[in-house]
Every structure is written in structure tokens, then in C-alpha cells.
């Protein structure tokens, strides 16, 4: 009798330890600490280009995470990417003319949405859309803009042949 009891106890201990480990993995290692409460609300923001933004990316104001990107869809009517942002209910007084921009955390980090407050005294409500948006910065566009600008300034100064344009671009 006694031996089955110790067996049961150590089996129970093992199973509890296993589940405690699963619980630890789910709550302490994954990014679930920002669990949105039930009183959260949704906002929509339409971007020309979302860059590398993914569902699950944080939405932050002044660096504080206030929500998450819930979903990203391509809207065939607007020809834009519409991101659905889920904002925690604690932050229910964000001016409804605040603007959303896609930013990058660190040099190589993931992208997130930064909200900066506007001046309106009306707060965002569930289902509102953010009107003022700033797209993600795409490196290729940045480079090509720089290239074309420098080529344009060169061609202003001197009449160029088509061959010299790439040379100017290389500078």
C-alpha cells in the first residue's frame, strides 16, 4: 500500500512539474505578457506600404506598448494595406486625429506602429480609422530617390549624354 502511494505522489509531482514547465514556457518566454483585456477596441489604419509589419507587432505610444497589430489585409478598393490595431481598453482617451507611423525598432529590429497624439478632444472609438498615416520606409525607395536626385542635380549643371548618367549615379 505504502509503495503505491509514493509512486502516485512522485508521478503526480512529475506531471505537475511538466505542466508547470509548459505554463512557464507559455507565459514567461513568449510575448503573451501583453494580454489584451476584453474591453480593448479596434482601429483601422490604411497604409500605402507596410514594409515588414507583421500581425502581432506592437502598437506603441511614446514607447509604451498600448496594443497590437491584429490583422493586415490588402484592400482592393483603396489599393492600400489596411492594418487592424487592437488597443487596450485602458488607453481609451487617444485623440482621434492622432497619427500612426510604421517605425523600426533598433537598427535591424522588427517593425511596429507608433501612434503620436494629435490635438483633438474627441477620443478614438471602436472601429475608427486613423486618418494620418506614415508609411514604412523602404530602403530601395530611399536609395533610388537619392540616386535620381543626385543624377538630376548633375544634369542641371552640365548637359549630359546618356552614358554619363550612370557615372553620376555612382557618385
Amino acid at each position: 500500500m505504502r509503495s503505491t502511494r509514493t509512486l502516485d505522489i512522485s508521478t503526480g509531482l512529475f506531471v505537475m512539474l511538466g505542466f508547470a514547465a509548459i505554463l512557464f514556457m507559455v507565459t514567461q518566454i513568449t510575448n503573451r505578457e501583453f494580454s489584451l483585456r476584453s474591453d480593448s477596441y479596434r482601429l483601422k489604419a490604411a497604409f500605402e506600404n507596410i514594409g515588414g509589419l507583421k500581425p502581432g507587432a506592437p502598437v506603441s505610444m511614446a514607447g509604451v506598448a498600448i496594443g497590437r497589430v491584429e490583422d493586415i489585409q490588402y484592400d482592393m478598393n483603396l489599393f492600400k494595406a489596411v492594418a487592424t490595431l487592437r488597443i487596450d481598453g485602458r488607453y481609451n482617451a487617444i485623440p482621434n486625429d492622432s497619427d500612426a507611423s510604421i517605425l523600426t525598432a533598433g537598427l535591424l529590429g522588427g517593425q511596429y506602429i507608433g501612434l503620436s497624439p494629435g490635438g483633438s478632444d474627441q477620443p478614438f472609438k471602436n472601429g475608427d480609422s486613423v486618418e494620418m498615416v506614415q508609411d514604412a520606409v523602404v530602403l530601395e525607395n530611399l536609395i533610388s530617390k537619392y540616386l535620381f536626385n543626385s543624377a538630376a542635380t548633375k544634369s542641371d549643371q552640365a548637359p549630359t549624354t546618356p552614358e554619363s548618367a550612370p557615372a553620376a549615379a555612382q557618385e
Partner: protein, 256 residues
Amino acid sequence: MITILREIAASVFSFLERVGLLVRFALRLAVILPSGILRVRPIIEQVYNTGARSLVIIMTCGLFIGMVLGLQGHDLLSRFGSEEYLGVATALSLLRELGPVVTALLFAGRAGTSLAAELGLMRATDQIAAMEIMAVDPMRRVVLPRFVGGVIAMPLLVSVFVVVALFGTQLVGVQFYGIDAGSFWSQMKDAVELDDVREGLIKGAVFGVACSLIAVYEGFNADPTAEGVGRATTRTVVLSAVVTLILDYIITASML
């Protein structure tokens, strides 16, 4: 020349035969699973046998693997000046790969061999034949609880392994190298998704099924001699390791 070809053909056929027997064995287990799972007591005993008694070796190995990952990871990452990513790197590699695979290999070595040797010895000492004479189905009475116990124990062992290993990494990274504890954990939290945990647990469950099945199959079908029991034990470890690594590739490729 002909004899060589004949020998190759014979070994191919015996391999196919073994695969077929294993599949038939697995199907028989699956058929008796719903009724056999109701007998809880022998399953608990086997969870204790395969799980709780593997705990010490799993935790020791986990701790040291985590500490080694801490040392190696710190050496590598400090070349790029990004030591804070040590938590991310170790957590992802542990959850997705090292946790399930190393646990499965240890499980095959610790629990799989004991299952195979126990069943093989029962076969060699005619205990299984005696059960058949008494109209007790040895598959249901002996094999099934051992299989189910192993399947239950494996994912739990994987999670214990991962958590202990992360603790070991934390020990080396934060206590020994002085990485900031806050950035260690927060970077990890930011980068690890619930899907990574799920992948590790799915792998753990699949490896648990594979390793337990191989162990009980090899033990149950061992030659009833002392040599046969030894061979069954060896084959259990070898086959479990190979199958685990092959399955690991397949699961990883399908989940990425």
C-alpha cells in the same frame, strides 16, 4: 555476384518485413487503445516508470546543455556586440530543436531501453506466453500501458528540459557573463511566439509516440534469449535515434 545480389535482396526484404510488422503492431495498438486507456492504474505506473524516473537525467542534461549554449552563444554573439540576444537565440533553438531532440534521445536511452529490456525479458522468461495461455491479451495488459505512459511522459519531459536549460543559460549569461537580466528576458519574450512553443510540444509528442512504439515493439518481439534481449535493447536505441532525427527534419520542413 549472384550471391551478393541475393544477399542485398534478402536484406531489403527483411527490412520491408520489419517495417510491415511495425506498422501492423502499431495498428493493433491503435485498435485496442480506446478500451485499454480506461485502465488508468497501469498507465500511471508507466508514467512514473518512463517519466518521473527520467526526470533526474533530463534535468541534469538540460542544465548542462543550457550552460553550454550560454557559453557558446555568448562567445559567438559578443563578436557582433549583441550579447542581449543570447536569450532569444537559446530560447528559440531549445524550443524548436534541441529540447525535443535531445529529450527524445535521452528518453530512448533511459526509458526506451528499460521498456525494451523489460518486455524482452518477459518474452524470454515465457511470461508473455503464460499470459496468452491464461487468455490475457499481453498487448492490452503489458504493451499498451507502457506505450501510453511513454507518450504522456515525453511532452512533459520536453518542457521540463527546455525550462531547466533556459535556467542554465540564464545562469551562465546573466550571473557569469553579466548580461543584463532585463534585456535577456525581454528580448526573449519579444522574439518567441506561441507557435514556437507549440512546435516544440508537437515534436515532443511525435517523438514520444515514435520512441515508445519502437521500444515496446522491439521488446515485445525480441528473440527469447539473453542475446535477443540485448539485441532488442540496442536496436531500440539505434532505431529511436535515427527515426527521431528523420522525423525532426520532416516536421521542421513542414512547419517552417
